[in-house]
Symmetry: C2
């Protein structure tokens, strides 16, 4: 379990044994059964979560009760209400386990102290955020540019592991289309 996050981190920065130990000492194991909410609106968000195994979603519920999925997370991904986490504001999102999941959490204050002691970790999280930022830019570009059919196909191509594990209902929520529409899109794809 610890192995997976260490591998993850050392893909971006080099760590000594003692640094690994120090970092791992700051992590807490969290388990979340399917349908458990890790975060809900108005929670104070002090943690971000690394997924050791399982599958989760981050979504916003609008006034009409529609779910809008901002992010999925599977093995080796991070998830949180990042706006609330970064800014120290109350959450707007729900974070919910789609499968029974095992996570490692890290606390924001603990992280800020770690940055001061070992700046390399600040580098790691800078690089992680840069990567996430770039992915979101690509997602926006696709939403400006591509048809819903193309966006669905790209989703399947980009995240085959997610596509296999979540319902189409979820994927529709992520793409911003209605499940009925996605069903018709899938029908059309199968015909060709």
């Amino acid at each position: 379990m610890i192995n997976s996050i260490v591998n993850h981190v050392t893909k971006h920065i080099e760590l000594s044994e003692s640094e690994i130990e120090e970092f791992c000492g700051l992590l807490e194991e969290v388990t979340a059964q399917k349908k458990t909410l890790l975060i809900q609106p108005n929670d104070i968000v002090t943690k971000e979560y690394y997924v050791v195994n399982g599958c989760l979603k981050a979504y916003y519920l609008d006034e009409s009760g529609n779910k809008h999925i901002l992010q999925f997370a599977i093995e080796d991904w991070w998830i949180s209400d990042f706006e609330a986490f970064f800014k120290g504001e109350p959450a707007n999102l729900y974070i919910e386990a789609i499968e029974d999941s095992v996570l490692l959490s890290i606390n924001k204050n603990v992280l800020d102290e770690l940055y001061l002691r070992i700046p390399k970790f600040e580098r790691f999280f800078r690089l992680k955020t840069e990567g996430a930022f770039v992915s979101l830019r690509a997602r926006i570009l696709d939403s400006l540019q591509k048809t819903n059919k193309e966006r669905y196909l790209k989703f399947c191509e980009l995240y085959p592991q997610i596509e296999k594990r979540v319902t189409n209902y979820h994927i529709a929520n992520y793409l911003g289309i209605k499940p009925e529409s996605l069903s018709r899109i899938r029908k059309e794809i199968n015909r060709s």
Copy 2:
């Protein structure tokens, strides 16, 4: 000119006089007349740009020749093809001045060295990227959730300085709708 970026940076981190001097020594002044391209596809992107004054856009041109604007930048904003800049890959975007502009550029290698010498700057850029990441998340959420009319109104509310300075044609490209559609939306807003 240097003042504006120093104010900008010191909103997030505290700097000594010598640190300010060191940082400013790394910046280069760039001027770009209206319609000048700072970056175009396949360029190697070694710089990101801080806007001292002026107005620019970052856009993608698809196969059909449609512009999709990913970002505007006015005073106190940063702009680049960040994917290319962070990853050291060739550009996919155009960065173009909408008005005559004055910018300060910083080179990626120079920045990476600065992070090693003064980790505080790595903090600054981490915080800047976190903020940008959060903004993109909000933009995606809006595109999932809101009608085009609502998104236009939110754009006007969020970026009144930009709305005043760019054409509706540009705003339509940014929102991912056709200029004709935006025109009809505006007409409807004025009626009420």
